[in-house]
């Protein structure tokens, strides 16, 4: 009896010892790992609340664009100027009379903006004058009649596309110019979307995806040629 109980006690003691050792070992190795390298989230979280200084930067002049500063929603960045790219600006050099008078005058002549068709929302929602100010065509205007410069045309878009605007300010919608380094230069809405026809059109891929067998590739080539012919027709 005595022998048996001694044996069991010994066993229990050994097991407890083992547990203690393995536990302390586990703790130790965990600590070592943490010291070794923080996790990705920790790295991001402990990075600080202000932008760190980096050596590289983007020079807008090198990109060959002129920019204006935008301050909205607690974010500050640059967008390309627009007015220089408008071919017939200022509009008032042709538009000497208000639109209301122009409509009454002779309409036999070919219209100046004949090639622009508004494919943006329905006719119930939008017409030319939703954005263009009929009284002063050098500027755009908001829904409440406030003047908006062509350089800040995003203020027009923002009125309906508030979610996209928020995403654009934050950076999940739109495109950076120059690179990731400061300062932030972004394309403005009209740099990617034609305001008169804003949707992206379907098209063909720029290339084949992963390599396919030569024979089927030839087939695809022919398909493509056929499609191009049909398009021309």
């Amino acid at each position: 009896m005595i022998k048996k109980s001694l044996f069991t006690w010994l066993l229990i003691g050994a097991a407890a010892g083992l547990v203690i050792i393995t536990c302390s070992h586990d703790k130790h190795s965990n600590e070592a790992q943490q010291e070794h390298e923080p996790s990705l989230i920790d790295k991001i979280k402990t990075a600080g609340k202000t932008s760190p200084e980096v050596e590289v930067s983007v020079n807008p002049y090198k990109l060959g664009i002129q920019t204006i500063k935008i301050k909205q929603g607690g974010r500050e960045f640059l967008v390309p100027k627009r007015i220089e790219h408008l071919i017939n600006y200022p509009c008032a050099s042709c538009h000497t009379v208000p639109l209301s008078q122009l409509a009454l005058s002779n309409t036999d002549k070919k219209r100046a903006h004949w090639n622009i068709k508004l494919k943006h929302a329905s006719a119930d929602v939008m017409n030319c004058q939703t954005c263009h100010a009929p009284g002063n065509l050098n500027v755009l205007h908001s829904l409440t009649g406030k003047e908006i410069s062509y350089d800040e045309s995003f203020k027009n878009c923002q009125q309906c596309h508030s979610l996209q605007f928020k995403d654009w300010l934050g950076g999940s919608h739109g495109k950076r110019l120059g690179g990731w380094a400061p300062p932030v230069i972004k394309q403005t809405c009209v740099n990617c979307h034609d305001p008169h026809d804003p949707s992206f059109k379907p098209r063909w891929p720029a290339r084949y995806n992963v390599l396919v067998f030569p024979e089927s590739q030839r087939e695809l080539n022919e398909q493509h040629r056929k499609f191009a012919k049909n398009e021309k027709k």
């Binding site: 590289v56 950076r176 120059g178 990731w180």
Partner: protein, 347 residues
Amino acid sequence: MNNTVNSQKMKKNKFQSFLSGSKNQNDSKEAENKKDGYSQVMEKKDGRRGALKKLTLGLMAGSGLASSCNPLKGDKSLKKAELNWEEFFKGNYKLMTDKEKQATVKRLVTRYEEKTGDHLNMSCSNAESNVLFGYAFNISKCRGYMDCVNACVKENNQDRASEMQYIRIHEIQDGKGLNFEEADDNYYHEIPAAGHFYLGTQCFHCDNPPCVEVCPVEATWKEKDGLVVVDYDWCIGCRYCMAACPYDGRRFNWATPQVSQKEVNKNQHYLGNRLRAKGVMEKCTFCIQRSRAGKNPACVDACPTGARIFGNLLDPNSEIRWILENKKVFRLKEELGTEPKFWYYMD
């Protein structure tokens, strides 16, 4: 500066371990790591390496003698032979000092210029502090245009013969979920196809990269700015990394990559788009030659839809951080613990 500090540290470490009389394995390993590649090869104490050292020294002396004795060989060819010799016995880029990096880049540039007569611009810029690169991909914006792939191939001098591509664009049917087995990677039709969405994959530059773990020669590693890179001259082509990558992020050169002279992008980085040889691994480097210069990777610049966002994860005002904090983001195979620095999100 850094070097002298490092060597001082090394000495200190050695001194301390001498004092304590203990053989601290970590210390000795660290000291070994601090050595440059050449001395790492040449000064190893075990017998095999010692023999190699003697052998190469003998070879060096022998070839030097032979070339100096040969009256037909000019000064130019001697220099060329010397250059090739140094290039062949250079160390692992990871262990090189800045000076050694510059020397190898210079050698590679001279070799290319002698071979082709074209000028080359190769950088060996190091990771900047306060920078950790991250990437976000908007699956509601991508339309499968493949402009990113074209830009990538052009920028990174990928093999035209085998049509090597780092980026895959998967066409996935709505309702099928992220099932890559049922995704179409070979689509060629008008896009976007109705009832489908598009998702791009490439190297995710994991923060805990399994490909780096398995490399038997440490030819691939994670840089301080988070980029997982390959030293093409140290890679032995075993393809362990290719097998270890859960994301199909790595590519192997089965044959010598073919890039016509005109199409070679001559703005290169040692760890990036410089021309590769047959039998080595390569992969997306987030265009290290561009990103370390403050630019966006070529795929980000080329995307017409703005589905690709790139930036500094350590900058709280960066776009990538805004996306992480304001969008519902996810990563592929997160349960593996690889910590990819490549997030997907939707509008």
